[in-house]
């Protein structure tokens, strides 16, 4: 009995990990116990042997280089945010957020932009071509009438359009994205940690909306859809109305045509390989992967604004060429996909894919660190890659708020990858969760013309040949300290810049026969 207890302490003993008291007990015991002494001896021998063997395993010198090289070819996941403040919409890539949140179109030029992004023409156009169905089924509750207008389903997405009418006083409502939609049937596994259930996006504009669902798993399906929460906005206040508008919606899925292709565009060291085109009634989908040709610390972030040309007609990418915007699911890492206007009813035999902009991400070998004074009333200047960055308006309360300005656009970088750390200790207990809002963002073209962000997107087709790049002039940050971090007595914080994005302009083209 005692022997068993003692033996369980052998490993701690060999690790020098016993309390003085326990160690004395153990030594006293083995003095009088031949068997335990032998056991300890042989265990010690074995452990030494193992340790020696382990120490002989050494990491080859180029090992991490290889891992790094290979890792840089993997794309980090596309993380979709549940809710985002409007200002974040300023970043081009963040357009995908719009697909996640209910969008109220209120002011110009935002509302104009939303009109461009509205998927409604897609669905009506498809239905008018005989694919999909006009339903017009209505339910009224709380004096609000909701009508399911059209439904279209293919192997890329399922689209349901609806309109909401306030029978009392004509207020404008939209469906609450978060918790306001219930779909009884489940045909895909829910993505963990997201509120993405069966629906992946909701677009609302002037009382009309489009619900995008995952493609259905069978050719025909009747789904039970209920809207349970609507919201309406008056000024800055949002009112939520609970109710029950439920529908049985028959859906028929149309198959697109898929072509395996093998077209490669090589520009500089970058290789882009297109491997599949799917032409479906609502969208065209192109699958591809990119590699950086072994460049160190540099990789392709995005292919922006690819165009497909067929029979003299140009097909635009869905929503301004942000590859991240796809109607459902998350994108794979090696493999990517991008969606375009549908070519289904044009039925092309030859297509050309043109690549003009490659957004690259450059990672610093060693992140650059800058010390920011918290009790400084004057603007503080820092220099990164020859460009001045200015931090001002620092306010310390229960959080740290300040503005980061970049007075002139840099020729070296476009957007920066910045983090803020506590000065002394950056640890699981002590860190900042930060939120940055881009207040001023511009596109600047090669002739140095400057366009407001929205304005640029609205006239994108006119200015795209002049290679406009995104430049963020002003960001306001708010750093919230973690529970273990007391910022009252902090004098400094660290600004860490670990890399940046830069657009590379190329002239790539691949001609493909669809067979």
């Amino acid at each position: 009995m005692e022997c068993d207890d003692i033996r369980l302490k052998f490993i701690d003993y060999l690790d020098n990990n016993l309390t003085a008291e326990d160690e004395k007990k153990l030594i006293d015991h083995i003095k009088g116990c031949e068997e335990c002494r032998k056991e300890l001896e042989s265990l010690k021998k074995l452990v030494n042997e193992i340790n020696e063997n382990a120490e002989n395993i050494s990491v080859p010198e180029d090992f991490m280089d290889n891992i790094r090289q290979r890792a840089l070819k993997i794309d980090p996941p596309v993380i979709k945010k549940k809710k985002a403040p409007f200002k974040i919409l300023l970043i081009a890539a963040a357009i995908l957020i719009m697909s996640m949140a209910t969008v109220f179109a209120t002011k110009n030029p935002m509302s104009e932009l939303f009109k461009l992004m509205n998927p409604e023409p897609r669905i009506t156009n498809t239905v008018n071509n005989g694919v999909g169905k006009r339903l017009n089924i209505s339910k009224t509750d709380k004096n609000i009438k909701i009508t399911i207008t059209d439904v279209v389903a293919d192997d890329i997405q399922t689209l349901i359009s609806y309109k909401i009418e306030d029978l009392n006083n004509g207020k404008e409502y939209s469906v609450k994205y978060d918790g306001g939609i219930i779909i009884k049937e489940k045909w895909v596994k829910q993505i963990e940690d997201t509120n993405i259930e069966m629906y992946t996006s909701l677009f609302s504009n002037e009382g009309k909306g489009i619900l995008t669902l995952f493609p259905i798993d069978t050719d025909n399906k009747t789904i039970n859809l209920a809207f349970t929460k609507l919201e309406t906005k008056t000024g800055d206040t949002t009112e939520v109305i609970d109710g029950n508008w439920n529908f049985q919606i028959p859906i028929k899925k149309y198959q697109g045509k898929s072509y395996n292709i093998n077209a490669t565009i090589k520009v500089d060291d970058y290789v882009i390989n297109f491997n599949k085109i799917t032409i479906s009634p609502t969208l065209t989908k192109v699958n591809f992967n990119c590699s950086n040709g072994g460049r160190k610390n540099e990789r392709i972030n995005n292919l922006e604004d690819i165009r497909i040309i067929a029979d003299g007609k140009e097909y635009k990418p869905y929503n301004f060429g942000h590859e991240n915007w796809i109607p459902y699911s998350t994108v794979g890492y090696g493999d990517r996909e991008m969606t375009f206007d549908s070519m289904y009813f044009d039925n092309p035999k030859n297509v050309e894919i043109r690549v003009n902009r490659i957004n690259t991400q450059i990672i610093e070998d060693k992140p650059k660190e800058f010390i920011v004074k918290l009790d400084e009333a004057n603007p503080q200047e820092f220099e990164y890659l020859g460009t001045k960055l200015v931090i001002n308006d620092i306010k310390v309360s229960d959080n740290i708020a300040f503005n980061l300005n970049q007075p002139i656009n840099s020729s070296k970088f476009e957007t920066l990858s910045i983090a803020f750390w506590p000065f002394n200790e950056h640890s699981p207990e002590k860190y900042f969760s930060s939120a940055g809002n881009y207040n001023e963002a511009y596109f600047i073209d090669k002739d140095n013309n400057k366009y407001g962000y929205y304005d640029a997107l609205l006239i994108w087709d006119k200015i795209r040949t002049k290679n406009p790049v995104l430049y963020i002039a002003n960001t306001s940050y708010k750093l919230h300290p973690s529970d273990g971090l007391d910022i009252k007595h902090e004098k400094f914080i660290r600004m860490i810049i670990d890399g940046y994005n830069k657009t590379v302009f190329v002239n790539g083209s691949a001609k493909i026969k669809l067979r």
Binding site: R7, L8, F10, I11, D12, D15, N17, K38, S42, L43, K45, L46, V47, E49, I50, N51, E52, N53, A54, N56, I57, S58, V59, P60, F63, M64, N66, I67, R68, R70, A71, L72, I74, D75, P76, P77, I79, I191, E192, D193, T194, N301, Y333, Q361, I363, E364, P367, S417, A419, E425, H426, S427, P428, Y431, S433, D498, G499
Partner: protein, 175 residues
């Protein structure tokens, strides 16, 4: 301690599209991860694949990690799984004698004795093997292992001890 500090920051940075923090952290800890994977696979190419696959899995599943503080343990569990997976696949394609003879598979320069040791290790049940590898190849303390594997400390201690005894028996080094 240094490693742990950074590890919990990794999930956030990955979600922001920055993989550099992860790579730096792996670099800092490469020795323990390398030895751990080597103990299973005994060749550099496979170990490299394990690292690579682990990074992919981390990216793919980062949203499933509920607690950022638990990143290191989570990372190691993924890595252990990848080791086992490659080992399983190899066992499937290679005739078993080939594995057992060991010499050809193993690139270690060391004496026959250490080959025997690693063969022995490969022949004990996984429930003990992973503990011994984490303890002696990666150099984690019993307490850290308990955290990584989410196992009571007492169980970890009993199993490591039992595992070492089984290993000793297999190696025929009773005395």
């Amino acid at each position: 301690m240094e490693d742990k500090m950074d590890a919990s920051m990794i999930p956030k940075s990955i979600k922001e599209g920055n993989i550099q923090v992860l790579l730096v952290w792996i670099d800092t800890n490469k020795q323990k991860f390398y030895r751990m994977s080597w103990a299973y696979l005994k060749n550099n190419t496979d170990v490299e694949d394990v690292f690579h696959n682990t990074i992919i899995k981390v990216f793919e599943n980062i949203n499933k990690l509920k607690n950022d503080q638990a990143f290191e343990g989570w990372f190691i569990s993924i890595m252990l799984n990848e080791c086992r997976k490659i080992l399983r696949d190899k066992r499937r394609v290679q005739p078993s004698e080939y594995i057992e003879s060991g010499n050809t598979v193993c690139g270690l320069e060391d004496s026959a004795e250490s080959l025997d040791l690693m063969d022995g290790l490969n022949n004990i049940h996984e429930e003990y093997r992973e503990l011994i590898i984490l303890k002696y190849y990666s150099g984690y303390s019993q307490k850290e292992i308990a955290e990584i594997l989410n196992m009571p400390l007492g169980t970890v201690k009993t199993k490591i001890y039992r595992g070492l005894r089984i290993l000793r028996d297999i190696l025929g080094r009773e005395d």
